[in-house]
């Protein structure tokens, strides 16, 4: 398959070695190895149920793994609790929108910035108990995330008052407010129309220019072709292909995986 676009001497931001997640007899993820090099956008495609979300869950330590190794910047972290990943500045969005219903858009995004300020504080001066309780009055990361996801004007809206696509943008903004080094996106444009998707794709490419490493799960092939540097294809918990995006989507095994999933009715 085609070579990774970056020299192998660089330490990968994320490396998975033989990662497996089994739920009883269900092998949701079964022996996946991958390396994500800094500053690139990686994609994962695969039919529903192929284990993409479970893989992201395992990488973010929210889902218990059955075996394998996880390395961030070359250091293994498979025993680190999920709440510590924010300190490594690994963050994710979820396949289903998960905003807090009682908080408005600004406060929902602020939660991401809170995680950042905590890890920054850990490095420096000890804040007073009052500062720790209240948090900083305003974080620059929030305004920036709102601007980048084009949510200006929505700051005081509650999640239930917005369309699904807009809610998804808030999810992305919350992740960005954390100032991540590795961003994992689980179907971030599901429920968006074409122009919104193009916008998100543009945003992800801008973030790539700034050096952010990303792992993107998406069904929209055109978006994957436009956005990703490198694509992994999964089926039944295993990698069935990887490489340049256009090669992977043309790969017979990948096509077979999709058609095999009883979607080929009108083929």
């Amino acid at each position: 398959m085609s070579a990774q676009p970056v020299e192998q001497t660089t330490t990968p931001v994320l490396e998975l070695r033989d990662l497996a997640v089994h739920f009883g007899g269900v092998k949701a993820v079964d022996g996946i190895s991958m390396k994500l090099m800094p500053g690139l956008i990686y994609g994962i495609i695969g039919p529903n149920g192929s284990g993409k979300s479970t893989l992201i869950g395992a990488i973010t330590r929210l889902t218990r793994m059955t075996r394998g190794e996880l390395l961030f910047d070359g250091a293994s972290y498979e025993h680190v609790p999920p709440s510590r990943l924010a300190q490594l500045r690994v963050t994710r969005t979820f396949q289903t929108v998960r905003l807090l219903p009682d908080l408005n858009v600004r406060a929902n995004i602020q939660i991401g910035a809170d995680a950042r300020t905590t890890s920054e504080q850990k490095a420096g001066r000890r804040p007073s108990w009052f500062e720790r309780l209240r948090g900083p009055a305003a974080s620059p990361g929030v305004a920036d995330a709102i601007r980048r996801t084009r949510l200006e004007g929505f700051e005081s809206y509650y999640p239930s008052e917005m369309s699904y696509g807009t809610q998804r943008r808030v999810e992305i903004a919350r992740a960005l407010a954390m100032d991540p080094r590795l961003l994992l996106l689980d179907e971030p444009t599901a429920g968006m129309n074409q122009s919104e998707r193009a916008e998100i794709s543009g945003l992800l490419r801008d973030l790539r220019e700034e050096g952010l490493t990303q792992l993107l799960v998406e069904h929209d092939v055109q978006m994957m072709l436009d956005t990703c540097d490198y694509v992994f294809a999964m089926n039944s918990g295993q990698l069935i292909a990887e490489g340049e995006p256009d090669e992977v989507v043309r790969n017979p095994a990948v096509q077979e995986a999709y058609l095999g999933k009883k979607w080929g009715k009108d083929a």
Binding site: L100, P136, E152, L225, D246
Partner: protein, 318 residues
């Protein structure tokens, strides 16, 4: 001639201690921890303060401080023991804890005064001290509802998985819930025994859980303001209802049932929703939603451009 205040002094006192009891159950609930251990801590705090005053001649502040410290530590130990339990199982374990405290009170021999309890708990604790301490506790709880802590408490309750992926340690928040609940319960119990000068097993039974829970369910479980509303209603309502004699319990029961059915977020929740509605209307009048996004809802087609299509259409690949 007695003023209204003097003749209702007991009710004013009960409002404050009832409020702190309600907070001892509300704080953990707000963090998604279904613990009623606050009621047990109330019993421990009441008995401990009584014993310290009677046997050691302790001052009111020493008695309250010692009671809070003890119940906070017991809360921590209880938390370490059971914080992994969830929902109903956790609730059951904490109710059991409360019942055990009641059993100890009855069977504690001379130390707890058995079924008669302890009396003659006399200190110079004043109404204004009771008021001041209640206010301080209320302000501290209110602070935990705003800013970063408020957001994190919301996250821990509504979506624990999201919370941990946002760098929040669930374990730490849950243990804190037990400690704060313990300290507040101990505070309520110790202040109550100091103003009433007596405590018995009947004062710390299952009824405390019901009282505290009723206050926050009807008043509103998400904010200290709901606890205040509930504490006022359920301290004063029984007094008002004595006028109707035998029907008292029935009316009381109906009020609670109606509130639970029609006001799922309590009276305070209704006020919040009204306010949100007003905000939305004024916002729509002054600045309509930004054009960029709100329209999309209609023309969503999540399957467009799927690999599926591609499989049927080779040309789609550049």
């Amino acid at each position: 001639m007695m003023s209204f205040y003097d003749s209702h002094l007991v009710l004013f006192q009960a409002t404050f201690t009832g409020l702190i009891l309600a907070l001892s159950i509300q704080v953990p609930l707000r963090m998604g921890v279904f613990s009623f251990a606050g009621a047990g801590s109330y019993g421990i705090g009441a008995y401990l303060a009584a014993i310290l005053v009677i046997k050691q001649d302790a001052s009111a502040f020493v008695a309250i401080g010692a009671a809070m410290l003890a119940t906070a530590v017991i809360g921590l130990l209880l938390g370490l023991l059971i914080f992994k339990l969830n929902g109903l199982y956790l609730a059951m374990a904490t109710v059991a804890f409360d019942l055990i405290i009641g059993v100890i009170a009855i069977n504690g021999g001379k130390t707890t005064g058995g079924s008669t309890g302890l009396y003659g708990v006399i200190t110079d604790f004043t109404m204004s001290q009771l008021f001041t301490i209640t206010l301080i506790a209320l302000v501290l709880v209110a602070l935990s509802e705003v800013g970063r802590t408020g957001r994190r408490v919301d996250a821990v309750r509504d979506d624990p998985e999201l919370a941990s992926s946002m760098g929040i340690s669930l374990r730490r928040y849950r243990l804190t819930a037990f400690v704060v609940s313990g300290a507040l319960g101990g505070l309520a119990g110790s202040m109550n025994v100091l103003v009433r000068s007596a405590i018995g097993p009947l004062d710390i039974g299952f009824g405390l859980i019901v009282l505290g829970l009723t206050m926050i369910v009807v008043g509103g479980s998400r904010s200290w303001k709901g606890a205040v509303i509930g504490a006022v209603i359920f301290t004063w309502l029984p007094d008002v209802l004595t006028a109707i004699g035998a029907w008292q319990e029935l009316v009381y029961g109906i009020v609670v049932a109606l509130a639970a059915v029609f006001l799922p977020r309590g009276i305070y929740g209704v006020l919040v929703d009204l306010n949100k509605g007003l905000q939305r209307r004024s916002r729509e009048r002054h600045d309509p939603p930004p054009a960029a996004a709100e329209e999309a809802a209609g023309d969503v087609d999540p399957t467009t451009g799927d690999v599926r299509e591609l499989a049927l259409n080779e040309e789609a690949v550049p």
